[in-house]
């Protein structure tokens, strides 16, 4: 096996007095597709938000590509990471949000172009060409000059994916990306993710309630319950033949078609 691209080592996270994550150990291999499932409040989203540097762990270590994300070495001591340390690692991670979070004052083309131009200093002309290509890939090539408010939820989420892909991350995080969508729009978004998964080279961590989808595209499913990893393994084993009572109980609320 390769060196993992992401490593969680005994990671804890508390919000006030409430401990949301109670010691997470999790390795993500390059190009691996991992689905995080579990009841709401189990800490799934917090796990990926810490990797995106949106939440800081209370305890434990997260490594990205062998580098400690939240601590840095300074004069021989480990200290809290500063902005430039986070900035230097964050480029490997991308994220798609439940509520899209597109920039409403920019067209969808500008949404895609902003970060590569500002952060990577790539030429505007080239970025524009790749942005158009990327938007065509998610089926929105004819909408590049529209504003987010003019799109449906499914279209917005596809733009959000194109925007995140423009930064060519090594790990892409999906935070319940279909939960805010009308049921009839879920399919088009999952289709795009499925295509991305097939392309292969990018690792993906998906927080999802779409069990069929997890079964279909994930290499591994991780079941989180009450702040700990209760069970993990091959999608078939987890979703079709669950061992723990809690997972059986959780899955009984979904119909897995297989």
């Amino acid at each position: 096996m390769d060196e993992p691209i992401v490593k969680y080592k005994d990671v804890h996270k508390s919000f006030g007095d409430i401990e949301v994550l109670k010691g997470i150990d999790l390795d993500i291999q390059p190009a691996e597709k991992v689905a995080l499932i579990g009841p709401s409040g189990s800490g799934k989203t917090t796990i990926i938000r810490m990797l995106m540097t949106l939440e800081e762990p209370t305890m434990g270590v997260i490594d990205v590509g062998g580098r400690n994300l939240w601590q840095m070495e300074k004069k021989g001591e480990w200290v809290r990471a500063d902005d430039s340390h986070l900035h230097s690692i964050r480029g490997d991670i991308g994220m798609v949000f439940q509520h899209f979070n597109l920039f409403p004052h920019m067209t969808i083309l500008e949404n895609c172009m902003l970060a590569p131009v500002l952060v990577k200093n790539e030429s505007k002309k080239e970025v524009k060409a790749t942005s158009v290509e990327m938007l065509e890939k998610v089926g929105l090539g004819d909408k590049i000059d529209l504003y987010p408010a003019q799109l449906s939820g499914g279209q917005k989420q596809r733009v959000a994916m194109a925007r995140a892909l423009m930064m060519r991350p090594k790990v892409m995080l999906f935070d319940e990306v279909t939960s805010a969508l009308d049921p009839e729009l879920v399919g088009e978004v999952l289709e795009v993710i499925r295509d991305l998964a097939k392309e292969g080279e990018m690792a993906m961590i998906l927080v999802t309630h779409e069990m069929d989808f997890a079964l279909d595209i994930a290499d591994r499913v991780v079941f989180l319950n009450d702040g700990v990893i209760e069970e993990e393994g091959h999608p078939e084993d987890i979703l079709v033949n669950p061992k723990s009572e809690r997972l059986q109980d959780f899955l009984s609320r979904f119909t897995v078609n297989r």
Binding site: T53, H87, F97, N101, F103, P104, L118, A164
Partner: protein, 220 residues
């Protein structure tokens, strides 16, 4: 008995001062509001503390008293002279309205949904780039309508500067009235109309800003 053209031409002598104080105050208070508003959302405790103190002091005391303070008390007490009366007036009005308007700046910045900041962190934008490209442009759209309202209020506040001896519209109105007491109604009616006419472009600006601000703002 004075005629309407007589009254009008007397009042017109004050127009220049009123407009000058108005324009300079708008420029200065806008700059103060932006600086103070941004300072109040800073993560530096000292910066937020000092600006918070400034805002509360200037919101909590009356503009007339501030005008008198700058004009008479500061020179008398500390021998500080702030320059010509025009600048004293502009400074007092700008500090006062800058304090109010900084609250709109702060409020609008804080009203930009947290998801916008999160998305820009996820795209690895720097703190400055987040402010410059994501937060401020959206905050400005939200603050514009109320900003327009304050411009109209500044215009009305300029009428106080006659109290420290500036020769504005109201000053000439009072001068004229003191020698032509029977013309009082005409003088003040004309003054109302003149202030309203000056306010018209500001009102139009506010309306325009309201319609503009509805475009391109995140809904939730």
């Amino acid at each position: 008995m004075g005629s309407l053209p007589d009254i009008f031409s007397t009042l017109m002598q004050g127009l220049k001062v009123t407009l000058l104080v108005l324009v300079l105050s708008i420029i200065c208070s806008t700059i103060i509001a932006l600086v103070a508003g941004l300072s109040r959302v800073s993560t530096n405790r000292l910066v937020t503390g000092v600006t918070g103190f400034y805002v509360e002091i200037f919101r909590g005391t009356s503009l007339i008293v501030q005008l008198f303070w700058f004009s008479y008390a500061l020179p008398g007490l500390f021998n500080i002279h702030l320059g010509s009366d025009i600048w004293v007036a502009v400074l007092a009005i700008s500090l006062n309205y800058g304090a109010y308007m900084s609250e709109i700046v702060r409020g609008s910045i804080q009203a930009v949904p947290a998801g916008q900041t999160e998305a820009s962190i996820a795209l690895n934008l720097s703190k400055f780039q987040r402010m410059r490209h994501i937060i401020i442009p959206q905050a400005v759209r939200m603050m514009l309508p109320e900003y327009g309202n304050y411009l109209i209020q500044i215009l009305k506040a300029t009428s106080l500067v006659s109290l420290i001896g500036l020769t504005d519209l109201l000053y000439y109105g009072n001068i004229y009235r003191s020698t032509h007491l029977s013309d009082s109604p005409t003088v003040y009616l004309l003054l109302l109309v003149m202030y309203f006419v000056i306010a018209l472009p500001l009102i139009a600006f506010t309306k325009k800003m309201e319609s503009m601000s509805k475009k391109g703002v995140a809904l939730g």
